[in-house]
């Protein structure tokens, strides 16, 4: 029974919801699911508007881990099957079992999401360590860059540079535009690179070695005397508001740091579970969700947090702000919930039963 417990159709391995929901408009959301589907849903009515299925990747896993990107009337999403998809939303039918039409075949599984540069080049990284720069119209390859290790994250874009982190702990800054695909600088961390956030001229990168690094975005030089160290991995991208960094860690804490020095600016918010989702801001509150299904609403000034309602399942995907005051939670049960500072109890919005 124990042995057979892991046997599920298709794969022995369980998948996880990593992709943030993407808003097509005020009431339509695009999801990359842990079952390998690209789904469009209405968060007002709870009705599904369309879906298609990506292929099976390594270990029999079928999943869309990276956050989809909307561009030029198409949904761009990477599949664990190694294909980049470019789907016109109107081509999808509800409850459809149709396969998504591949747009570009990469060298290996795609885990992160695509990113679009200011001059309209699409970047997507692969597990094989290749960063592709593509023409989003016809999928032609403009250039490639071979990273040192597996690329699981979505590239972070800066002024003429793209930042990518590998599971081998190497953070690459890759030139865009002319000379595109060449390395500007690199930084070696002690373990895999987690979420990154660019603010001004500083790149803040969390890593599995429990360190949060602050690097000069142009040169890669460390901005702090030493990286800030937590008790467990930094998985999600930190949030920057003004001169403060709000960095979630798997040690259950949301650290509040001085962005210039890396020193604690306030006591950390100690939640009851590992924080794997990137926080969001809604209604002048920082919203945090953790693996123990808790939601936290934190005053960015004082750093004081209030526990909101519990979600039915754990949260791994980044939180998304909806309008000015609400937030969307795409939980591990594959369901999207909505909450606001005034009504802190998350409410199921898609799909509705």
């Amino acid at each position: 029974m124990f042995l057979a417990g892991g046997c599920t159709a298709g794969s022995l391995f369980s998948t996880t919801v990593w992709a943030a929901p993407v808003l097509l408009d005020d009431e339509t959301v695009v999801l990359g699911t842990q079952t390998g589907h690209i789904v469009i849903g209405n968060i007002i009515t709870g009705a599904e508007l369309g879906r298609c299925e990506t292929g099976e990747g390594r270990n029999g896993v079928r999943a869309v881990y990276g956050t989809p990107l909307l561009h030029d009337g198409r949904i761009y999403a990477g599949g664990f099957d190694g294909f980049l998809y470019a789907i016109p939303p109107q081509s999808l039918l509800p409850e459809s079992e149709a396969e998504c039409t591949p747009f570009f075949e990469a060298d290996s599984a795609i885990v992160g999401g695509p990113a679009l540069t200011a001059d309209g080049v699409m970047l997507i990284g692969t597990e094989g360590g290749t960063l592709y720069a593509l023409d989003p119209q016809n999928a032609s390859v403009i250039w490639t860059f071979e990273a040192e290790g597996e690329l699981w994250g979505t590239p972070v874009l800066g002024d003429g540079l793209a930042y990518i982190g590998t599971l081998r702990g190497v953070l690459h800054a890759v030139r865009l535009g002319s000379g595109g695909g060449t390395e500007a600088w690199r930084h070696q961390a002690g373990a895999g690179i987690g979420g990154m956030t660019l603010s001004g001229n500083t790149l803040y990168a969390g890593a599995f070695d429990r360190n949060l690094y602050a690097l000069n975005a142009e040169t890669g030089r460390p901005e702090w005397p030493a990286p800030f160290t937590a008790d467990n991995w930094f998985w999600a991208a930190p949030l920057i508001i003004g001169n403060r960094i709000y960095a979630p860690s798997l040690d259950h804490s949301l650290y509040i740091l001085n962005a210039d020095t890396g020193a604690p600016a306030a006591d950390p918010v100690m939640t009851g579970g590992a924080i794997r989702s990137a926080p969001a801001v809604a209604g002048n509150r920082i919203i945090v969700a953790n693996e123990e299904r808790e939601t936290w609403w934190i005053d960015p000034e004082t750093g004081l947090g209030i526990v909101g309602g519990k979600l039915p399942d754990a949260m791994y995907a980044p939180l998304v702000t909806l309008g000015e005051s609400d937030a969307l939670f795409f939980a591990q049960d594959g369901i999207v919930y909505r909450a606001s500072p005034s009504l802190r109890q998350p409410v199921r919005v898609f799909p509705l039963e």
Partner: protein
């Protein structure tokens, strides 16, 4: 159930995961070597139990003639037959369930390793989620070892230990080694019916494990194969290779089997029940066999 799951994770899965990653770091970042080393460590840790099992198994084999004699003598009185059998066991100092203990103890190891491979070694986002929660903070290795190299050299070039072997080779090795392990540990059959049952069992388990090896991650199949080879070696060392090598007599069990209590072993046709599995195959298969004379150990019951 959640408490049981937590206990399982705390006592078995977490130590196994961390042990595997530690061995992986020490053994040239090879998960194949880590699994082989873990198998050896597990077998060494359970060595006293395994020896007890093998001794128990050997003693049971040695008692087969007497047991057959009891069955023949009391075939019309099951209660008396059972009582005499238990008395025989008691006098021989063995428990009929003694040989099951080590197997029962090893079963959680299988389950733990299975889940360690499924949960931790897939190099999937979900695996990282799991590992980040299960690494011991005091262990010098952890996140630094990721992503784990789960490839090992294979006839196809390489084999990913987190997935099933796409060739039938590893499942065949598992099936063959399981067959050999059972064969070498099999007690001599005392009747045609028993021999038929043994023949069926001799093939059912290898086929079953071979099928599982074909379906489950190769890391688990590698564990089974290495574990079988170690068991075969230990059994061969202790009681000889007689069962495994046709025509080669089993070695004496004297080294591990204490003097056995004897009941009257002479049967109606004047011959004595045999002990040796291979020797017992000639002639009337259902009939008693001639054993090696052991004058100093034999106690004849006076009639």
């Amino acid at each position: 159930m959640e408490v049981v799951g937590d206990i399982f994770i705390f006592l078995l899965l977490q130590p196994m995961l961390n042990g595997l990653v530690l061995l992986y770091s020490l053994l040239f970042e090879s998960m194949a070597l880590a699994i082989i080393a873990l198998t050896i460590i597990v077998r060494v840790a359970f060595y006293p139990l395994t020896i007890k099992q093998l001794q128990s198994s050997a003693r049971m084999q040695a008692l087969q003639p007497q047991m057959q004699e009891i069955r023949n003598r009391y075939k019309n009185n099951p209660q008396l037959q059972q009582r005499e059998t238990m008395k025989l066991y008691r006098e021989a100092g063995i428990s009929p369930l003694g040989c099951l203990g080590p197997m029962v103890v090893q079963f959680p190891i299988w389950i733990g390793l299975y889940w360690a491979i499924i949960k931790g070694l897939g190099n999937l986002p979900g695996s990282f989620v799991y590992l980040s929660q299960r690494f011991y903070s005091w262990l010098p290795v952890g996140a630094e070892a990721l992503p784990l190299n789960t490839e090992m050299p294979w006839i196809t070039g390489s084999l990913d230990l987190s997935t099933a072997d796409s060739t039938p080779l590893l499942p065949l090795l598992v099936a063959a080694s399981t067959w050999a392990q059972q064969r070498i540990m099999q007690p001599p059959a005392m009747s045609d019916q028993q021999r038929q049952q043994q023949q069926i069992m001799l093939f059912i388990f290898p086929i079953m494990l071979g099928f599982l090896a074909f379906t489950f991650p190769s890391g688990l199949a590698l564990y089974w194969f290495v574990s079988n080879i170690i068991t075969i070696g230990m059994q061969g060392f202790i009681s000889g290779w007689g069962n495994l090598v046709p025509g080669r007599p089993r070695l004496s069990l004297a080294g591990i089997v204490s003097p056995q209590p004897q009941i009257e072993t002479r049967s109606d046709n004047g011959s004595e029940p045999g002990m040796d599995g291979e020797d017992s195959r000639g002639g009337d298969s259902a009939g008693p066999r001639r054993a090696r004379p052991r004058p100093r150990r034999r106690r004849r019951r006076r009639s």
